[in-house]
């Protein structure tokens, strides 16, 4: 234990109290480490607002959620009416609920922008791999949280959305049907499902989420923030050991982020007060009809933030598997012929590719059931799951010699642009009713999405890279 500190005799009562606390709890130490003496690069730009905004939205969701639970009833016969009761009879209940429902969409907007910032400036690269991985885990938790929360109003979209997503698990060979039964707790989505989703939504996942947020920030503060130049500011310190390009988070970025908060709250309030349904995208119109287990609404679509992944699920048909077989074959041959792998590596690739080819039905023509592989349904689930899980591998997929997009070849920006446009188009397609042309576009989009990641070890090294400066680029105002 460190030695006992004593406040000067003439110190104020406040200083004496703080000294008393500091001798028992590292209050001042924590404040310094994470705020007043946490040195962040001085060249943060607009894109660096979204981390603190995500924290703000988390607080909004937790506070509004606490108040909603006071009036909501997690019972299949009462849930729908209790939400309407909050909207109509609870004083200001409509505001709390609209803040929560708008907050869900705002969370994804902020988090998508926050993740894209990481893409642009290589914030996932060494030594920030764990910051990124914790972040991806947070994103997964958010998806779970949003999905389970969406069942609670017990409207038609709640019900059928849950039905589809829980049934995704039944596509897993052997254990799938049993697993989806365990998730629902009944043979159909029912009161049992609603109750357990309520439990997960209000306590289990929020606890995990909070733990991950703490881990995300601790890991970040251990390695230090990246910046738009991708320059490690810790490499250049002054004689006090402070990075020359760093400024204390508090007061510089705490005040800076307050401006971001103000801007965010203007937009957030505008939606909450004037556009709470978000044109049917934040609150879908079919969800104003109580759940009916006998009738699926004529057009069902997930909430907008899930649609890119949902499109990829829908795109995986038998036709798509034919293309996938071809791609796996070509990729494996290229990796073996052109890749710099040893004999063992080549054998592993060959065996892995062969198994995968059988799995996606390359031997289906033989008509032997044991060799016909899994259904497109299972691979659709794999594609959807893989499209999220692949994010975890970003730190090792990107092999470019520089972190930031600023010093990459200009055509890399075009690659990123294609990726973003693909993601947006997939998102739009996920809202549309299925038809053959749109499915074909979604299939091309799915290939582009995965191509972006799986070919990254190759394309991220190509081209002429610009010289990275020793210090960050900063122009004082």
């Amino acid at each position: 234990m460190s030695e006992f500190k004593v406040a000067p005799a003439n110190a104020s009562a406040g200083v004496k109290l703080l000294t008393w606390v500091d001798n028992r709890f590292p209050a001042t130490k924590l404040w310094k480490e994470h705020l007043s003496e946490y040195y962040a690069p001085k060249n943060f730009n607009f894109w660096y607002f979204f981390g603190s905004l995500a924290l703000l939205v988390l607080v909004i969701q937790i506070v509004t959620g606490i108040f909603l639970v006071m009036h909501y009833k997690p019972d299949a016969t009462l849930a729908f009416a209790s939400v309407e009761y909050i909207m109509r009879d609870v004083p200001w209940g409509w505001l709390v609920r609209y803040m929560h429902s708008t907050g869900a969409s705002a969370f994804f907007i902020v988090v998508y922008l926050h993740m894209f910032r990481g893409f642009m400036y290589g914030s996932y690269r060494k030594p920030r791999e764990l910051v990124w991985i914790f972040g991806c885990a947070i994103f997964l938790c958010l998806m779970g949280e949003a999905f389970m929360g969406y069942l609670l109003p017990w409207g038609q979209m709640s019900y059928w959305g849950a039905q589809v997503i829980v049934n995704l698990f039944s596509a897993i060979p052997f254990v799938g049907p049993e697993l989806s039964l365990m998730i629902r707790g009944d043979y159909v989505v029912s009161d049992a499902t609603l109750n357990r989703f309520f439990s997960f939504h209000v306590i289990a996942i929020p606890l995990i989420l909070l733990g991950l947020v703490v881990a995300h920030i601790i890991a970040l503060h251990e390695v230090g923030s990246n910046n738009p130049d991708g320059v490690e500011i810790k490499a250049d310190k002054d004689d006090k050991g402070i990075p020359r390009d760093g400024i204390p988070f508090h007061p510089y970025y705490s005040v800076h982020d307050l401006m971001g908060v103000a801007g965010f709250l203007i937009l957030f309030s505008a939606v909450v007060f004037f556009w709470p349904e978000g044109g049917g995208y934040f609150l879908e119109s079919n969800n104003f009809i109580p759940a009916d287990s006998l009738k699926t609404p004529p057009h069902i679509a997930p909430v907008w933030y899930f649609t890119p992944f949902y499109s990829m699920l829908r795109a995986t048909t038998d036709d798509m598997l034919v293309w996938l077989r071809l791609i796996v074959l070509v990729a494996a041959v290229l990796a073996i012929v052109k890749g710099k792998f040893g004999g063992l590596g080549k054998a592993v690739i060959a065996i892995g590719a062969a198994l995968l080819l059988v799995g996606i039905g390359a031997l289906k023509f033989t008509g032997i059931p044991a060799l016909s592989g899994c259904d497109a349904k299972f691979w659709g689930v794999c594609v959807m799951g893989g499209s999220v899980l692949i994010l975890f591998f970003m730190p090792w997929l990107d092999k470019s010699p520089v972190k930031s997009i600023r010093y990459r070849p200009d055509w890399h920006k075009a690659v990123y642009a294609v990726f973003v446009v693909t993601f947006l188009i997939l998102g739009w397609l996920g809202i549309q009713p299925p038809d053959p042309l749109k499915t074909a576009i979604a299939q091309v989009g799915t290939l582009l999405y995965f191509g972006f990641f799986l070919l990254m070890p190759w394309w991220s090294q190509q081209g002429t890279f610009k010289a990275v400066p020793a210090r960050v680029t900063f122009h004082a105002h």
Partner: protein, 205 residues
């Protein structure tokens, strides 16, 4: 942290062994404790009991009409097909993924429905109205011909709103759609000419 060689001197092997044994025993107790908690996820006794057979009177069902009843929380459709509809079932087989209902017959098609019209009586179809892809309930598209989201040679049937799977009027899935299987024919039997029992197919001796 500087890299250093970990020195194994001074390790008491006996203590290390007991630490390992304690860890294994602790893990065993942890797993045993998890079993009852995980078990609570399974359907309750009440949920298991709620699966009684449903009796339906189809005397008022007109040709070309569909009736929906709830069985085990799921919609069961009873459709009285017109002679043209029944005739169409033999024309579309080339477009179907599994025209003869050969996949998972024990689960999807009881023996008495293993025929082209997948029903006991050729005109009356009884199927569970839940898509075999991800469990949505397909919408009726009984009229033949071109229409939005459907091919121009559409013979009549169902379109799933979720992922676009299509089924013909015997609940057989079309090729190259996300749904792998035909719609399930539930166990059912006729109590009389116009009375159906859904959920049971063993006549009492």
């Amino acid at each position: 942290m500087s890299e250093s060689v970990v020195v194994h001197e001074g390790i008491d092997d006996s203590k290390r062994k007991w630490v390992a044994i304690t860890c294994v025993a602790g893990a065993g107790a942890g797993i045993a404790t998890a079993v009852p908690f995980v078990s609570t996820f399974a359907p309750s006794e009440r949920a298991k009991a709620a699966g009684a057979a449903v009796e339906v009177d189809i005397s008022d069902l007109k040709v070309g009409e569909k009736k929906t009843v709830e069985w085990r929380g799921q919609p069961v459709w009873i459709v009285k097909r017109s002679p043209e509809m029944v005739a169409s079932l033999s024309k579309d087989t080339a477009e179907l993924a599994d025209p003869d209902s050969k996949r998972n017959p024990d689960e999807l098609t009881p023996p008495y429905a293993r025929n082209e019209h997948r029903s006991i009586k050729s005109d009356v179809l009884v199927v569970v109205g839940i898509c075999t892809h991800l469990g949505c309930s397909p919408g009726d598209k009984f009229s033949a011909g071109a229409q939005p989201s459907l091919p121009s040679d559409w013979p009549g049937g169902w379109l799933c709103p979720c992922h676009g799977s299509t089924f013909d009027l015997a609940g057989r899935v079309f090729k190259n759609k996300p749904a792998p299987d035909n719609l399930r024919v539930p166990p059912h039997m006729y109590l009389s000419d116009s009375k159906l029992l859904i959920g049971e197919d063993k006549k009492e001796a």
